[in-house]
């Protein structure tokens, strides 16, 4: 098992390097391959009437004139050891891990990420807890009472959850409970450290709207997995032993039925950690998703790249965790 973990961690680090290289290539190599000169790339970062000298300075600062592998090396070095950018009058230090420096906002990317991450994490974690509890329990009950009124109702609602777009649910909730009808919530983010109760209270609407979609999805997946598992031969064996049905379901059925969900949850959760783009914009939260949107609309490459890399990091880490959990659950994985 230890060897397995070490091997997996090593593979994850390698994978991250590859991801960073590919991301880097997409953002810095592709524009040039598409015919953009380094001058025009640099020109984006200065005012409307670009002074050739300033452009030259930007090129030098960004290292655009250097060969691509040098640029990538600088980028990696920045990630590990930090980097210095001297731009105009005020030289800026971007301490490790330096995800780059936004010349449009004149801020380093990492502190911004640090500042915004708690908002996104709060959203993701809370919603995940809600959707896991509601989705899975609904799915199990539906599977066990297959064909009943309860099952049909639950699957009907979940079909709605899967089909309704996030922004609709979010806006509808806001309209109902915040703006128009019941003025219960004035949704804005409050730090958990400052006021935990207020934090939770204010997050209820975003959580619910985000969790609705995922609960619906997970309820359907759980139901399908449960139905499949309960038809397995080993369930019949468990019954043939004379086990009470509750034990057959919980001990023999659930564990197998829920295992495939772990993979899906790992991916869903990792993606959310990288920014719940729509939820954040519906509720005007300044999280990572909003930051990514800002980077995209402003064509601010360092920001986009920073968020992309971070998301990739979460995905790789979550995948690793998923695999480890798998190995812990399924002995067949451990040995092969």
């Amino acid at each position: 098992m230890a060897a397995y973990i070490i091997r997996r961690v090593f593979a994850a680090v390698l994978l991250l390097l590859v991801v960073s290289a590919v991301t880097f290539a997409i953002f810095y190599l592709l524009p040039r391959a598409a015919g953009q000169s380094i001058q025009s790339m640099a020109a984006q970062y200065v005012g409307k009437s670009p002074d050739p000298d300033v452009i030259k300075a930007v090129i030098k600062n960004l290292g655009l004139d250097q060969p691509i592998y040098e640029q990538y090396w600088h980028f990696i070095k920045g990630l590990v050891a930090g980097a210095n950018y001297s731009f105009g009058p005020d030289p800026a230090h971007c301490s490790a891990p330096c995800f780059g420096y936004s010349f449009k906002t004149h801020t380093a990317v990492w502190p911004q990420i640090q500042q915004r991450a708690p908002i996104t994490f709060s959203l993701a974690i809370g919603a995940a807890v809600i959707w896991l509890i509601t989705g899975i329990s609904t799915g199990i009950l539906s599977a066990l009472k297959r064909g009943s009124i309860w099952d049909r109702l639950a699957m009907g609602i979940s079909l709605m959850g899967v089909s309704l777009p996030m922004f609709f649910t979010g806006l509808a909730l806001l309209a109902l409970f915040s703006f128009n009808w019941l003025h219960i919530w004035n949704v804005h983010y409050v730090s958990f450290v400052d006021n935990p109760a207020q934090w939770a209270w204010n997050l209820i609407l975003p959580w619910v709207s985000l969790a609705f979609l995922y609960s619906a999805l997970y309820a359907r997946l759980t139901r399908a997995g449960m139905l499949e598992t309960m038809g397995e031969d080993y369930i019949r064996t468990a019954r043939a032993k004379g086990l009470v049905e509750r034990k057959v379901i919980v001990k023999h059925g659930l564990r197998s039925a829920l295992t495939p969900l772990i993979t899906i949850f790992g991916m869903d959760f990792a993606l959310l950690l990288g920014g719940a783009v729509i939820t954040e914009s519906v509720f005007s939260f300044q999280g990572l998703g909003a930051y990514a949107i800002q980077g995209v609309t402003d064509n601010d490459l360092p920001i986009v790249m920073g968020v992309t890399l971070l998301t990739a990091f979460f995905i790789v880490v979550c995948n690793l965790l998923v695999d480890l959990v798998y190995a812990a659950i399924d002995p067949r994985v451990r040995l092969s």
Partner: protein
């Protein structure tokens, strides 16, 4: 076996009837040398198991009756869809779907199971009656060790602490011939070979000393040399514990090896029943002839051609009228008045304890068997 036609199958006190007829039934030669006339341990009367499906009512089992004494082995033979597995799951009370419609009577050691309290049937499962399945890899839970699964089976029915249960499980693993049982206790099913897995399944089924063991194609997924080992093991264990065994299989060779009595099923019905000797040496039903003629025999002179049954087994939604076998039967026109197509033949006794459901007269069948069938086998 009793002279149960469907009419007296409805007899209320079937166990009493079984007791009564068992005394008459002197053909019962228990493998374990049980005293003749011993009480029937398992009596099935007119068992019907139907399923509501979207395509219509599937009559998987449609009126099956048989008796089995302790120490005896009953072989249930049939092709896929004949209802043999559905019957066995019905005895175990394992048809949990609410689409299953079960009627008839199942008496286990004097206790009626159909309509009995579900809780009571659950208590009997695994304790008084146990079952082993065709594919031991899928029948064992992949996430739990073999040992843990046996321990679980033991502790369902015994108030034992983990240590005692573990000791018992290791003992059982040892008994079924698994080397280094204490070490293999901690292995997962996928670490066992196919034969070892089936041994582990048997250990699990027998951990509570059940008096009835139902084996559903226990060797079909195994190689022939392993099959020989497993059949040998089942025979030894039966001798040791004196339990009744129901062996379900499509392989006539396997039943001949192990069964005292035979029940041949076709399209959910029993079409022939008797001792192994009776059924193999004087088969009375054209379908049984067909089965024997279809099988290449390793113990006989090489035959040039097999004598197959024409056509394919019927769909259980549209079971042919009259005798379900008539579309495939070469002798369907022997009985007069189209009776094979209009009337369902009842099980009738030909010789002591030998029943078959065929419209032909005994003389007609005797003639066909000796003149046409036997010489070709």
């Amino acid at each position: 076996m009793s002279d149960d036609t469907h009419k007296d199958a409805a007899t209320k006190d079937a166990s009493a009837a079984a007791k009564d007829t068992a005394a008459k039934d002197s053909a019962g030669k228990g493998a374990a040398g049980k005293a003749e006339g011993a009480r029937e341990f398992l009596s099935v009367r007119d068992l019907r198991i139907h399923f509501d499906t979207d395509d219509g009512l599937v009559k998987s089992v449609d009126g099956v009756s048989f008796d089995l004494k302790a120490g005896q082995t009953l072989g249930i033979v049939g092709e896929s869809g004949s209802g043999k597995s559905v019957t066995s799951l019905g005895i175990m009370g394992l048809h949990t779907s609410d689409r299953a419609r079960i009627s008839g009577e199942i008496w286990l050691d004097g206790e009626e199971l159909i309509g009995a309290d579900k809780q009571r049937v659950r208590e009997l499962r695994g304790q008084k009656m146990a079952m082993i399945f065709q594919d031991p890899l899928s029948a064992l839970h992949p996430y739990y060790t073999v040992g843990a699964q046996i321990v679980e089976a033991y502790r369902v029915h015994n108030k034992a602490d983990k240590k005692t249960a573990r000791k018992r499980a290791v003992e059982m693993l040892d008994r079924v011939g698994i080397p280094e049982p204490a070490r293999r206790f901690n292995d997962f099913p996928h670490q066992f070979s196919g034969g070892m897995r089936q041994r582990a399944m048997i250990a699990m089924a027998l951990v509570n000393n059940p008096q009835l063991l139902i084996a559903d194609e226990p060797t079909t997924a195994l190689d022939v040399t392993v099959q020989a080992q497993i059949l040998d093991l089942i025979r030894d264990l039966q001798k040791e514990f004196g339990s009744a065994v129901v062996m379900i299989t499509h392989d006539l060779g396997v039943v001949a090896e192990i069964a005292d009595r035979l029940l041949v099923m076709y399209a959910g019905r029993c079409i022939e029943r008797g001792t192994s000797e009776q059924v193999f040496e004087h088969p009375q039903h054209p379908y049984t002839w067909g089965l024997l003629g279809s099988m290449p025999r390793i113990d006989r002179e090489q035959t040039d051609r097999l004598v197959p049954v024409k056509g394919a087994p019927p769909s259980l939604i549209n079971v042919p009228s009259g005798c379900a076998f008539h579309p495939r039967c070469p002798y369907a026109d022997v009985p007069p008045d189209n009776v094979t197509r209009t009337e369902r033949p009842e099980l009738r006794e030909t010789t002591g304890g030998h029943f078959s459901a065929c419209h032909m007269t005994r003389e007609q069948r005797e003639k066909i068997w000796t003149e046409e069938i036997a010489p070709k086998l």
